[in-house]
């Protein structure tokens, strides 16, 4: 094909454009109305500031959104991620329990199980739950929302059983580095999310997985007929979603230094779905943009931080939240685009 035959694409047709506009608008608002929002300070060799704070706090949601994006792209949904977070939080808290020992004459807390091993066990358990979701959806053919609803409900019970209904406090100092430590002056959680995002992007774009996933999401029958293993691909998505939820649970536990099976990750699955949708991805599955999803997660966290810093009471916050979501989502609706095009056309005529 000659170059002149290539389709001319306006910048607004790229999926990433509108979520970026949404994020930019939020930041612009902060630039004007929030004092010292963009100020970065260095204290004790660490960077501090609202921007860093947003990135740090968004890390849990971004992890969940990565898994959620794959699952919804495959034509399903995973509403159990909050409960899997709670399970993994309880699990790691129990595994890391131990007793105070005198080491070199100092009182020091020693866990029963080494941190690394505890993390691997916890992630393994989270993946097991992801696998269960995947098998229920692909092998048994349950509707995704029903299959994962089972774990949404049961998962919180399991988490409470693990901790016998108690809030467990964690004392393991090295473990706190995950959610509270700094590397090169930046919060360590940012590096975790960055690494997971990078690996997933490689998996999507450097293997045919991304193409297969979109194909399955668009049309399962056609995908099977052209030789894709639809069941395996589906299971992989739920497996990754479970793994991401496990990591999110560990990260959150490390940050707050305790595990509360009742509240940990409660309703956060809705935020992950919202991040996916705000990004202009289709809830029907198929074509998706992982990068846009990440921007979606950042929008949600920026919104939250902004409203906190404005001192808006929580009950009003939900309403403001909803309004912003409506604006961003309608920016991407085809109808609104047509109306905007019409307005431009008539404005141009006059």
């Amino acid at each position: 094909m000659e170059k002149s035959n290539k389709l001319k694409k306006g910048i607004t047709t790229y999926q990433l454009f509108w979520p970026m506009v949404g994020l930019a608008l939020l930041l612009l608002f902060n630039l004007i109305f929030t004092n010292s929002f963009f100020v970065l300070e260095i204290k004790d060799g660490h960077l501090y500031g609202s921007m860093i704070d947003i990135l740090n706090r968004a890390s849990v949601l971004m992890l969940l959104t990565i898994g959620m994006t794959l699952v919804i792209a495959s034509g399903g949904i995973d509403i159990s991620v909050g409960s899997v977070m709670a399970i993994s939080s309880s699990t790691i808290a129990i595994l890391l329990s131990g007793k105070m020992l005198a080491v070199n004459g100092q009182q020091q807390f020693v866990s029963n199980i080494p941190v690394g091993f505890a993390i691997i066990l916890t992630l393994g358990l989270a993946m097991l739950f992801g696998l269960m979701n995947g098998l229920l959806v692909s092998k048994l053919g349950l509707q995704a929302i029903v299959a994962t609803l089972i774990l949404l409900v049961a998962g919180r019970g399991i988490a409470q059983l693990i901790t016998s209904g108690n809030v467990i406090t964690v004392y393991n100092e090295p473990f706190f580095f995950l959610g509270g430590g700094f590397l090169f002056g930046l919060p360590f959680s940012i590096f975790i999310v960055g690494a997971v995002f990078l690996l997933i992007m490689l998996f999507i774009h450097k293997t045919p997985f991304g193409l297969f996933l979109e194909s399955v999401g668009i049309n399962k029958v056609a995908s099977r007929f052209l030789g894709l293993n639809v069941q395996t691909l589906t299971v992989i998505c739920y497996l990754i979603s479970g793994l991401c939820a496990g990591m999110a649970g560990i990260l959150m536990t490390s940050e707050v230094r305790s595990s509360d099976p009742n509240t940990m990750g409660s309703f956060i699955e809705l935020d992950a779905i919202l991040a996916f949708a705000i990004a202009g991805n289709s809830m029907a599955g198929g074509k998706f943009s992982m990068t846009a999803s990440m921007v979606g997660a950042l929008i949600i966290q920026t919104m939250r931080t902004t409203l906190y810093s404005k001192g808006i009471p929580p009950e009003i916050m939900l309403v403001v939240n909803a309004l912003i979501v409506i604006i961003i989502c309608s920016l991407q609706s085809d109808r609104v685009k047509i109306i905007v095009a019409h307005v431009q056309k008539y404005a141009g005529v006059k």
Partner: protein
Amino acid sequence: MIANKELLIMRNISKNYPGVVALLNANFNLKEGEIHALVGENGAGKSTLIKVLTGAESLESGEIFLSGNKIEAKSPHHAQSLGISTVYQEVNLCPHLSVAENIFIGRQVIKNGRIDWKEINTRSERSLARLNIKLDVTANLDEYSVAIQQMVAISRSLDISAKVLILDEPTSCLDKDEVTNLFNVMRMLKNKGIGIIFITHFIDQIYEITDRITILRNGECVGTFETSSLPRVQLVAKIIGRELEEFKNSVFTKKDMVGTHSTNNITFYSGKQIGRKGTIDPIDISIYKSEVMGLAGLLGSGRTETARLIFGIDKADSGNTSIEGKEIHINSPLESIKIGMGFCPENRKTESVLADLTVRENIVLALQGKRGLKKIIPRKVQVEIANTYIKLLNISTPSCEQLMKYLSGGNQQKVIIARWLATQPALLILDEPTRGIDIGTKVEIQKIIINLSKEGMAVLFISSELGEMVRCCDRMAVYRDKKKIAELSKDEISEQRIMHLISGG
């Protein structure tokens, strides 16, 4: 006949899609009590014209008048309330609702604050009776064949008081009797003064039923003609826009193309007593290399079912299968593909096309699926493969990065064929590859089929059009009522013979 008052006028309609001008200053007039054929190759702009009329696509420029009033339909529902009803090419009803629910969806009959099911059911039965169809209207729609579903869709449109009725290739899935029924109903409506826009690829049907013909080509109006004064050959020439001589040359037979070529009878696929309860009785079938094997029969007679068994979509519950003499068990399409099979299914929209992906992605997917997750085809090679087949099969698209949904039906079908050719199959199964496709592309696809077999490929070919089957096939299995009733050798194949067998006479 009722006075010929203008019912619908469409003037200077234009519409652009990304990279394609779909319609350019098209004009279309419809009179009361007229059956008006709208014809043209795929991508000529028929569907676009209808979509603009029914509000499925917005009007970019031009004017539409209905009974003298200027209208602009905002949505198909709005168009319906204006009196414009459509029955689309592929049935667009709700398969999980009952027949009656489908006929009355959106306009429930309310009695005492509740839906009056009894009334809905009797009225549904009555409206179906007008098509000479008797059904259990409380059964789910998907329990019926595609042909019946089509009739329900038509019946729904008839039931909504329509001034203009659009039938978008309603007959492509119907058998002869059903077509006769439909035509009777169309004549009845015509006498009531309803204007009918009839979109079809069947030349015979145009001459049987229509009063006038409007021809579109490449988004522009070629013209409107009285059916009785336009000779068939000229109609075809105007549709495909080629010189008459060239068209005559493109009507060919396998013998013309192949000359002294003879099949060498090396078996690629052999099935012994393969069958599946409820769908097809056990049959013997073998497919040779360098040969086009045809499966003839009516819809649901077992021809598609055989193809699905061979390709491993459905599992056979009896019999043995062997490939090149080696016994083999096929459990999934992927296994068949690895053995060297390819399968273009009957329903493009639901079983093969991935509308939101690009042409390139649609073409490389089967090959990539065959290679698995580990060995990705580099982007550059993907583009090369796509462009090779775009050129080879003469696929009309601005680039290989065009989204599949913007291609016309015929070009989509070529992309699906390209998808399988890219895997270099030893056996290619084509189930109705030319359905709903214009004459020009049909001839091209037939030539591709014959050429492939000449190059050594085994081809299993299924089609409802006996003409093209006779032209292309070296051997043929004939089906009736889920049974294979005969196998014809090349010299025995003729339209009369096949029809005789199918009808059971």
